[in-house]
């Protein structure tokens, strides 16, 4: 006859964390720990299960479930605590004015094609870029102006402005400033441009060139009134082998401080490369429009994709499956 009792006695109260289904037995093990592993495990499991069965039960789809409480055992996190995000300028303003974000529908009904189409993105409804005609306003200064190009230009400017605002918000969050203008970051592997060299740098270059002969510059004549080669080689200096630890510690602390104080830089030129430059763009000339090749040309593959998609949609309307040519046609 098998034992049917469910009670287990413990000398010291065990730690039971039902959130993690964890049981920590604090009783000392008598005798060899590797013996009676199974019996001890059974007893502990029994005690844990007794506790689990005490929890509130609920039947969900033929299965009896219990709600687990939050875990209490101290387990380290995986990542740092999330930092509080500083609101963007718009978010601040919106909160002040009580403006609430309204969600738009993902699809809208397009009156022209009588179809439901995406509100935004590819093949969207009411796409202004797909207009084939723009009405010239009555009070137009120059009726020959290319309104299509103007529209594109404006869009690009809006994008650039938005990008700049995003960067500014980011900089505010990081507590730095956006660096505008050309990048002053040193390019790796590229020397200083001759025009930008300092007097000393030029001097060093000349000196180096002079001694770079087969005879190490021995027979090089100087120019009239030229100073003699100044020695530029820097002697390396080493720390004393035996020095008090305090100075070393101080030095490393100094390095640490400089590293800590470093802030991330936002270089507008690099980051906003996506949106493209705002200011220095060639002024639009309507006569030149067709000759400029800077405009993106539609790739052949793109056209194929569109026709393929159109065929697919058409086929769906007709009720035949698959896009393009249907293979089953011949058999009929």
């Amino acid at each position: 006859m098998a034992d049917k009792s469910t009670t287990v006695e413990k000398v010291i109260d065990p730690i039971i964390d039902l959130g993690n289904l964890l049981f920590v037995d604090r009783d000392p093990i008598e005798g060899d720990a590797l013996e009676n592993l199974a019996t001890r495990a059974r007893n502990n499991t029994q005690l844990l299960f007794n506790n689990i069965w005490q929890l509130e039960q609920k039947r969900i789809d033929e299965a009896i479930t219990v709600a687990l409480p939050l875990g209490t055992y101290r387990i380290p996190r995986e990542k740092k605590l999330p930092e509080k995000k500083e609101p963007t300028k718009w978010e601040k303003y919106a909160a002040e004015k009580g403006i609430v974000k309204r969600k738009k529908d993902k699809k809208v009904f397009d009156e022209v094609t009588k179809e439901w189409k995406p509100t935004y993105g590819y093949r969207r409804a009411n796409d202004p870029t797909k207009d084939w005609v723009i009405e010239v306003p009555d009070n137009a200064e120059d009726p020959n102006k290319d309104y299509f190009a103007e529209r594109k230009e404006k869009k690009k400017e809006r994008m650039a402005k938005n990008e700049m605002q995003r960067l500014k918000n980011l900089a505010r969050q990081m507590k730095t400033t956006v660096k505008t203008g050309p990048s002053t970051e040193k390019m790796i592997g590229v020397g200083v441009d001759a025009k930008e060299k300092s007097k000393q740098q030029v001097r060093f270059a000349v000196d180096r060139a002079k001694i770079s002969t087969a005879s190490a510059g021995k027979f090089q004549e100087g120019l009239k009134g030229e100073k003699k080669n100044i020695k530029t080689g820097k002697k390396r200096k080493f720390e004393a082998n035996e020095a008090p630890v305090s100075s070393e510690k101080e030095r490393s602390m100094k390095i640490l401080q400089t590293m800590k104080a470093k802030k991330a830089k936002i270089i507008e030129e690099k980051a906003s490369a996506v949106a493209g430059p705002i200011a220095d763009k060639p002024k639009f000339d309507p006569k030149k429009r067709k000759s400029t090749k800077s405009e993106p040309t539609r790739q052949k593959s793109q056209i194929h994709r569109q026709t393929w998609f159109k065929n697919k949609v058409d086929a769906k309307k007709k009720g035949t499956a698959g896009a393009g040519k249907s293979k089953g046609k011949g058999k009929k």
Partner: protein, 309 residues
């Protein structure tokens, strides 16, 4: 290891929606994702290690990432490669198996916090039985195991206590708020034999009828069965560990003022009622209650009505 706070923010715009989702998934959160485990092969492995790794992998699936090629990692000399791999695959737990003449059949279990090493312990497999040697049916995928720790060393020895914590962290499975009683399919038992030896056994509980409402539990060993000897360890100091254990404020229960509970579980509270301004309270408007001016006003062309509320 000092990381600038600001560098954690990215300046570049995310280009695709999918990329954005991935980054959001990996970002630090108040309620974190389940920790994933990286299974990594060391410079050399043997059959025992490969088999043991496969068994542990099955136990840990699907919260796993596998690096199946041999890696020349020597973690106690330089732990950075495995930490880097962990942050690449977004998995903060790792195990590295390596076999060498000096340290045969060793497995290094570890975990990271904020892309830096937290704890790491190297253990030699002393005895091993693969889970295929046991007849009990294996657990279903992604079921949450029960973890049991026993042995005085987990209490008395601070290092062993941390190792126990690491093992719980490693094997506790996904975070769930509700569990099916029949779904309790795995029991992982860690026994601290002494300060340096650790036994790991995996059982399947079988629920039998009993006299009470809770069933009688019997266990069938499911495997793998491993006995380890702790070799080297690198455990986080108390400061870092405390920092890693910090709980977000949003999850902490806010203590309510003037509220207490007695032994019977009744809530006792002190309530403050503000001063009642009986003069200002709106009551029924009856003519009799109207205040009459003390001195009768002279009859004017536009009599001023005084409405006393």
């Amino acid at each position: 290891m000092v990381k600038s706070k600001a560098t954690s923010k990215r300046v570049e715009k995310v280009k695709t929606k999918k990329g954005k989702r991935v980054l959001e998934d990996r970002a630090s959160k108040t309620v974190e994702n389940d920790k994933k485990a990286l299974f990594c092969r060391g410079a050399k492995t043997n059959e025992i290690l490969n088999s043991a790794m496969a068994d542990l992998y099955d136990l840990k699936k699907p919260l796993t990432v596998k690096m199946d090629k041999h890696n020349q990692y020597h973690l106690f000399e330089d732990e950075t490669p495995v930490v880097r791999a962990g942050s690449k695959f977004d998995s903060s737990l790792f195990v590295l198996a390596s076999n060498s003449k000096k340290r045969p059949n060793s497995m290094t279990f570890g975990r990271t916090y904020d892309a830096q090493l937290l704890d790491m312990v190297e253990m030699k497999i002393v005895a091993y039985q693969s889970s295929s040697n046991f007849e009990a049916p294996k657990q279903t995928l992604a079921s949450k195991p029960c973890v049991i720790l026993e042995g005085a060393a987990f209490e008395s020895d601070p290092d062993m206590k941390r190792v126990g914590n690491l093992m719980i962290d490693w094997f506790r499975g996904p975070n769930v708020d509700r569990i099916r009683l029949e779904g309790l399919e795995t029991v992982i038992v860690f026994t601290a034999v002494d300060e340096t030896h650790l036994a790991m056994r995996v059982y399947r509980p079988l629920l039998k009828k009993s006299a009470t409402a809770t069933p009688r539990v019997e266990l069938a060993e499911m495997g793998p069965s491993l006995t380890f000897e702790v070799l080297r360890k690198k455990l986080a100091d108390e400061m870092l560990f405390k920092l890693a254990c910090k709980k977000p404020k949003a999850l902490l229960k806010k203590r309510r003022k003037n509220l207490s509970e007695d032994v019977f579980g009744n809530q006792l509270a002190r309530v403050h009622v503000g001063k009642q301004r009986t003069d200002d309270i709106q009551v029924r408007k009856v003519k009799a209650l109207k205040k009459t001016p003390l001195v009768e006003a002279p009859p004017a062309e536009n009599p001023i009505e005084i409405d006393e509320d």
